[in-house]
Symmetry: C2
Subunit: 116 residues, 2 copies
């Protein structure tokens, strides 16, 4: 039994997947995903925005819940705004082991923490 | 606030993580993880067993639920048996888009499907 449009993908291949805004325009792409090893959930997409949405080409970790995979589009949609991106705490080398950073980031995007 | 032993890891870095059996001996390692893009769950670890557990060096997709991350060990533990590995349906090029293959595989390992 073949499932049309399988949604399984090697994590390596998520890198480079495009992310689109509400109006269908491309806002950025995924560099890599961060996994919570304990729960087996994807916790963050580390994204590049390429100067769109008013920020530079820096990488930004975005909570996975802010992205919705659109099977017809073959990419992700997001409703994140320029304001949220500028309000989110800056990324530092320790962000992925800094629960305070994680809490503030999820609050900015209005998402429940993945660890709850 | 620093969280001791962060469990967030870049998906790229899961590759190479060791997997241990119930007795603490290494049974294999993870080559890559497969993500269900819709749910954001890790669905499979594609593992190498390196001739241990009676099978050759072939890659085997193992449902993620068969692995438990052990923070003290810094690796995964599994209770999968040689019988399960030999009973599991063979991997083919289309396994990741073959719901029948997926159902039989989860049944062999006694795990609920990740898509339910």
């Amino acid at each position: 039994m073949d499932v049309e449009g399988s949604n399984l993908v090697s994590a390596d291949n998520v890198a480079g997947t495009s992310v689109y805004g509400p109006d269908g325009s491309k806002v950025g792409s995924i560099d890599r995903v961060m996994i919570d090893k304990v729960s087996g959930k994807v916790a963050y997409a580390v994204m590049s925005f390429g100067g769109i949405l008013g920020i530079g080409g820096d990488e930004r970790p975005v909570p996975w819940g802010a992205l919705n995979y659109d099977t017809s589009l073959g990419g992700f949609r997001t409703n994140i705004t320029e304001d949220q991106l500028s309000d989110a705490p800056a990324k530092n080398d320790q962000w992925h082991r800094d629960r305070d950073w994680e809490e503030r980031t999820h609050a900015v995007y209005g998402l429940p923490p993945y660890w709850m």
